[in-house]
């Protein structure tokens, strides 16, 4: 029983990284129609920047949770202005190739600068050790990661459903032309939305820093699972990305625990099943797909 509970917490913690990053991916796809292949690299950048700032100026974990996403937001804005915006009018394939190339470039630049062995990271003392609830011990950091990302996902959901900004973003996601016709300047929102999506990937990276190897390659396998998450949740669906993120985390953990030989493929079997039954994903609508 205790082990099952542990697997669940571990699955939810792993799912937190997927949920946050997939949320960013979904928002970017929704508003810009761009499949950001560099999202894994941005997740990696989040972790690297956190580690580098800790080394250089002693920036600890808590301020990094705010500072790093802001830096990644600015990075996203620059990338959107310099490159992505020039290609949005063209076939989506162009931006796919652009972000794919960008991701290769970022990974190799980081390798060149910081090597491949990875960087050290010290996490705050308060998040070390175990939470004890009677006879049950849960790793503090994983519980924190789950709760923290749940809160962030909730905030993003509120932002999207309860504010004017969110309304505009959702409207332009669903009926871009009509929104424009109603006098909303959709273009003005494109750049900050791209930056916001990148910032979410960066935030996932900061959360991963104390817990995973901080290397240039850490985003490469992550992005593959991430696309499975987005497909399962429904491309462009915000709720779908979050639900599917946690779901995939759990499936992965249970797979590793109870059917280790299949742990690599269960996620993709799930993805295939979802596509067969609901081609637009769990929360996607046919017209968006």
């Amino acid at each position: 029983m205790n082990a099952f509970l542990l697997y669940t917490v571990q699955g939810l913690a792993a799912g937190s990284f997927y949920a946050l990053a997939a949320l960013g991916l979904a928002i970017i796809f929704g508003v810009l129609g761009v499949v950001n292949f560099a999202h894994g690299a941005c997740y990696m950048l989040g972790a690297i920047v956190a580690a580098v700032l800790q080394d250089l100026i002693g920036l600890s974990f808590w301020p990094a949770l705010i500072v790093v996403p802001i830096l990644l937001f600015l990075f996203g804005v620059i990338i959107e202005r310099l490159f992505v915006s020039r290609l949005t009018e063209l076939d989506p394939l162009y931006n796919f190739l652009l972000t794919f190339g960008l991701s290769l470039l970022l990974v190799d630049l980081i390798k060149r600068q910081y090597g491949v062995s990875g960087l050290p990271y010290t996490r705050p003392e308060i998040l070390s050790g175990q939470l004890s609830l009677g006879s049950i011990h849960l790793p503090t950091y994983q519980v924190f990661v789950f709760i923290f990302s749940l809160v962030i996902c909730g905030l993003v959901w509120l932002l999207m459903t309860r504010t004017r900004i969110g309304m505009i973003v959702r409207a332009s996601t669903e009926k871009s032309d009509l929104t424009r016709a109603l006098g909303v300047n959709v273009k003005a929102w494109v750049t900050p939305v791209f930056g916001f999506g990148i910032a979410l990937a960066g935030l996932a990276g900061v959360l991963a820093a104390p817990f995973r190897a901080i290397t240039a390659d850490m985003g490469s396998s992550f992005i593959i699972i991430l696309f499975a998450v987005v497909v399962i949740g429904g491309l462009g669906s915000i709720v779908g990305a979050v639900v599917a993120g946690f779901l995939v985390g759990l499936v992965e953990a249970y797979g590793q625990a109870y059917a280790p030989q299949l742990s690599q493929i269960v996620i993709f079997v799930l993805m295939a099943l979802v596509i067969l039954i609901r081609p637009a994903g769990l929360f996607g609508r046919e017209e968006n797909a």
């Binding site: 062995s117 817990f211 290397t215 390659d217 850490m218 396998s221 953990a253």
Partner: protein, 416 residues
């Protein structure tokens, strides 16, 4: 203006051509009888950009260049190898790339010897090429015992470490020190499976038992669940056979899970000093592992490591020192024999006893071409004991050459 530029370019190109022609003609003229193609070419074939870049990679090329410089300084005008070239190629840890690159190096770049080659499958491919081309290959980076068993050949030597020796040093010593109840977590590919097998044999021989052998995907960034699974059996040792980034993930998540408080210790199959450097000494503190060489073990090592630091801005891993040693001993053999003919050098190497900065009490076994030497059980220091950068290890015990490696009678190698 344009015509002046053109003329200048022409002059420069022409002089370059003449110069290069002279360069080719020079050594080819007088002393051709001794060197097969007028010069000695040492090729370092390894991972220049991937996961093994830091533990070997470009700095191994630097180490080989240091060996060349030392040789030239030692023999000066008396040097047999009048012209020495160091060349390198990136095999990206892929056996097919390694195979092609090895052919290119031997055929097109006239390499007399290929060094390093991490990743066992790639190393086996290069060994096959060495046998086919009848040229030397000294393996340093790969750990498979295949190279000195079924897949051995006359032109291949295994210089630094192998899975048998790692298991023998770590598995046996940890078990003898009371860690008798093991769970093994290994990555599911050739190296991991090989390590699992070697550790199992060593642990059982020392009287220990192994519960489960848990295979994990490779590469993988999430080991939490696998660790929980291993810990539910309440072992006193978890043996981790992962390497590089995967090992860092695993150790971070081992510390996260608080398993040390439950009385479970972590034994690591293969670890390089670059791993400790990247994760920080605190995370690895107390971990026992097999070390083939340590830069700060004595004054001789330290002096060499200081030179290495000047060249590269970093301290050497054992792979860097082993590349230096292999290159230097090759050049010494060329000097002794007065030729770089492969068969003559093989003859020179076989049975040779060597002591240098890397090989302590080293012997090149003639029967299977395994190089045996003293190795160590090392322990990662506590953070407060670290006195300078890279001062991470404490040598717990020295395992004499003849006890550390696979005994000759167990080897299935037939050089015939």
């Amino acid at each position: 203006m344009t015509s002046k530029l053109l003329a200048a370019t022409a002059v420069v190109s022409a002089s370059a051509l003449i110069l290069s022609a002279c360069g080719n003609a020079g050594p080819g003229g007088g002393e051709e009888g001794e060197l097969t193609d007028g010069k000695v070419v040492l090729a370092v074939l390894n991972d220049q950009s991937g996961v093994y870049k830091d533990l070997s990679g470009p700095n191994s090329v630097k180490a080989v260049e240091m060996a060349v410089a030392d040789y030239q300084e030692k023999y000066g005008d008396d040097a047999v190898a009048t012209e020495i070239e160091v060349t390198t190629a990136d095999h990206q840890n892929k056996p097919d790339v390694a195979n092609t690159k090895a052919q290119e190096l031997y055929d097109r770049e006239n390499a007399d010897i290929i060094l390093d080659v991490p990743t066992s499958s790639a190393a086996l491919a290069v060994a096959t090429q060495a046998a086919a081309k009848k040229k030397l290959y000294v393996n340093i980076g790969a750990g498979t015992t295949e190279l000195t068993n079924d897949s051995c050949n006359s032109y291949t030597f295994h210089w630094a470490y192998d899975t048998y020796q790692l298991a023998n040093v770590t598995g046996k010593t940890v078990t003898e020190n009371g860690g008798t109840d093991w769970q093994i977590i290994y990555p599911d590919y050739a190296f991991g499976q090989d390590m699992d097998k070697s550790f199992t044999a060593a642990i059982e021989e020392a009287g220990g038992t192994i519960g489960e052998h848990i295979a994990t995907p490779f590469p993988n960034d999430n080991f939490s669940t696998f660790l929980t699974k291993a810990a539910t059996a309440e072992p006193n040792v978890i043996g981790a056979m992962q390497a590089g980034g995967d090992l860092i993930n695993l150790v971070k998540q081992f510390n996260e899970g608080g398993y040390a408080d439950q009385g479970i210790q972590l034994a690591v199959g293969l670890m390089f000093i670059t791993d400790i450097h990247s994760l920080g000494v605190e995370a690895f503190s107390g971990v026992n592992f097999a070390e083939a060489w340590y830069w700060n073990a004595d004054d001789e090592n330290r002096a060499w490591a200081d030179r290495f630091l000047e060249e590269t801005d970093t301290r050497p891993s054992f792979a860097h020192a082993a590349n230096y040693s292999a290159a230097l001993q090759y050049l010494e053999a060329v000097q002794e024999e007065g030729t770089d003919d492969a068969d003559t050098i093989v003859g020179n190497f076989e049975g040779k006893e060597i002591n240098d900065v890397f090989l302590k009490n080293g012997t090149i076994r003639a029967e299977d071409h395994r190089v045996i030497h003293d190795v160590y059980l090392a322990k990662v220091k506590a953070p407060e004991d670290v006195e300078e950068d890279w001062d991470y290890e404490e040598i717990v015990s020295t395992i004499p050459a003849e006890d550390a490696f696979m005994p000759l009678e167990e080897s299935t190698c037939d050089l015939g």
